[in-house]
């Protein structure tokens, strides 16, 4: 299994060797003398290019698969079939969608700000495609090893807000502006708990580098329970908070108010059509995968295997398996929960998520300094459990409504 584990890196090395050989052969053939620094520079550039192409290819394939899998799963959960016409069991649906999107007319409203309207999809997709760069996909498989990788992720995430604003404002359409306002309000509100819960993981791991955080989750306690952060009380809460924040940041149900079809046509995407719309759509999905990848990295042990006897499966397979599981769960949530109202969304962010993320922070500190034993477990569970019950009971449970309601005609 050593071979499979090394497959991606070996492929990269093979391509580099190929380029090196081809270049050398070409130079001797043409009689060009290369300066000594030329070959290493070229190889560096090619290796960067290979990684970029690989990432984009992988994410595009995931996007295509997800776009059909999401609809199939959603359909099954609603007792329908879902797309089953294009190709074998509808597997070619993404191709059909792509052709449809590409051949559609690209409309720009007359009153729109043409330049900003054109730049918005670019401002959306560029950060989204840069997000996956810092995620460790397997042992030694980080495209860019940054010491402040987590910060990089959130810094780029800020660019999405800007793109949404540009799209909404430049469309010169009230639904677009309203959608953009909602999107920005939502992103700013949920970025706080999102960053807080990421900070918790970074604090306990003692590093901002994603690889470092994954390595801090290695090993097993009692011989079979992996030391992933999600299996601690504070980590479980932080993981859930991060998950909810990820749902909100990627505008997925139940946080899809910015695009709420039944209220705002399509929010900031109202005036986009054809390829530009497809780009927005793609950026949203790539962003979703990236943030799920960060969730895997921060709390679910990254590329680590869940039990010792499964370690023969390559590390990158584990990463993508966890990613697929998260993507499935997001579809599951989408099939289950109705959309928030805007005030509920805000209340949930500020009255529940933020206090809970502070509680988790304190619980993590207690767990860290109380020696990570059973005592630490109990204390940190109390610290996150009590606020949860209190907040849930006093702020988010409606007392005396269902019982007192009288139905005059529907009985």
């Amino acid at each position: 299994m050593h071979f499979l584990e090394n497959l991606p890196l070996a492929t990269k090395k093979f391509i580099l060797d190929l380029v090196k050989g081809a270049c050398g052969w070409l130079c001797t053939k043409l009689g060009i003398a290369l300066p000594p620094w030329a070959m290493p520079l070229l190889l560096t550039l090619v290796s960067i290019l290979v990684v970029i192409v690989a990432i984009i290819a992988v994410y595009m394939v995931m996007f295509a698969l997800m776009s059909v899998a999401e609809r199939k799963i959603l359909a099954r959960m609603q007792n329908r079939y879902g797309p089953n016409r294009a190709g074998w069991f509808g597997i070619l649906q993404p191709v059909a969608d792509g052709i449809k999107m590409l051949t559609k007319e690209d409309l720009v409203p007359r009153g729109a700000d043409k330049i900003v309207h054109f730049l918005a999809p670019i401002a959306m997709v560029a950060p989204a495609l840069m997000l996956p760069a810092i995620i460790p996909y397997g042992t030694g498989m980080v495209p860019v090893e940054l010491s402040a990788g987590i910060l990089y992720f959130f810094a780029l995430g800020a660019g999405t807000e800007l793109a949404v604003f540009m799209a909404g404002w430049s469309s010169n359409n009230k639904y677009s502006v309203m959608g953009a306002m909602r999107a920005i309000a939502q992103m700013i509100s949920y970025e706080l708990p999102l960053v807080m819960s990421a900070v918790i993981a970074a604090l306990v791991a003692g590093t901002l580098s994603p690889t470092g955080i994954v390595e801090a989750q290695g090993g097993y306690s009692l011989g079979f329970i992996p030391n992933w952060f999600v299996f601690t009380p504070w980590g479980f809460v932080a993981c859930l908070l991060f998950y909810i924040g990820a749902l909100a940041e990627s505008n997925r149900c139940p946080f899809d108010l910015p695009e709420g079809e039944s209220e705002l046509v399509a929010g900031h995407l109202t005036e986009y059509s054809g390829f530009k719309y497809a780009i927005f759509f793609m950026a949203e999905y790539v962003g979703m995968f990236a943030i799920n990848g960060l969730l895997v990295t921060l709390f679910l042990g990254g590329y680590k295997a869940p039990c010792p006897f499964l370690e023969w499966i390559p590390s990158w397979c584990w990463f993508f398996a966890k990613l697929a599981l998260l993507a499935f769960s997001m579809v599951w949530v989408r099939a289950t929960l109705p959309r928030f109202r805007i005030d509920q969304m805000m209340q949930f962010a500020w009255k529940f998520m933020l206090p809970m993320s502070f509680a988790a922070l304190i619980a993590a500190a207690v767990w860290y300094y109380a020696g990570r034993g059973p005592l630490a477990w109990g204390l940190s569970a109390l610290i996150v459990g009590i606020p949860y019950l209190a907040l849930g009971h006093f702020c988010f449970t409606r007392h005396h409504t269902a019982d007192n309601r009288r139905y005059l005609y529907s009985e």
Partner: protein
Amino acid sequence: MHDLFQRLISLPWDQAPQWFFLFPALLMLLAAAAAVMLRNLIHCALCLTLSFIALGVLFIALGAEFVGFVQLLVYVGAVTMLILFAILLTPASEVAASNNPFRSFQLSKALNAVAGGAVAMLVLAGLLAAIFFSPHAQAAVNPAKAATAPAAAIGENLLNHTLLPLQGTAILLTAALIGAALLAKEDKRS
């Protein structure tokens, strides 16, 4: 053709990364100039954002990753959004009337420009003085030290050497927050 290629490839391309900083730097200056000169306020704000982004890229290109990312996170993520919202929520007529506080003095355009330029020069001089005469300047100029200053070192500095100013800033920000909340509340009642 052959010769040309040989000469082209023999140029000192390995020196190129050192000059890379020129791109974000020029972009930053251009965007800042555009932010001052464009007519549409939203375009100005977007250009300002572009110059923030270029500044962040400049920091990263110079090896200060942490500062660069924080620059992007804070300025692009928060400050720009505030500016954009402020513009969007202010009726256009008020903006036109209030964007020049000197209007009541009936200053001529040229005088305006001179006054503005003088203020800008003063601020620039102040900043330069602060940078060159501060005790940290020598330490920061030392590239070897600057390159090996990751997040941990910054945190160390903030919480050990500059703890008191940090706490002061925190109190100031809290006061501002409470003040803003109070103002908003007043507004609602009237």
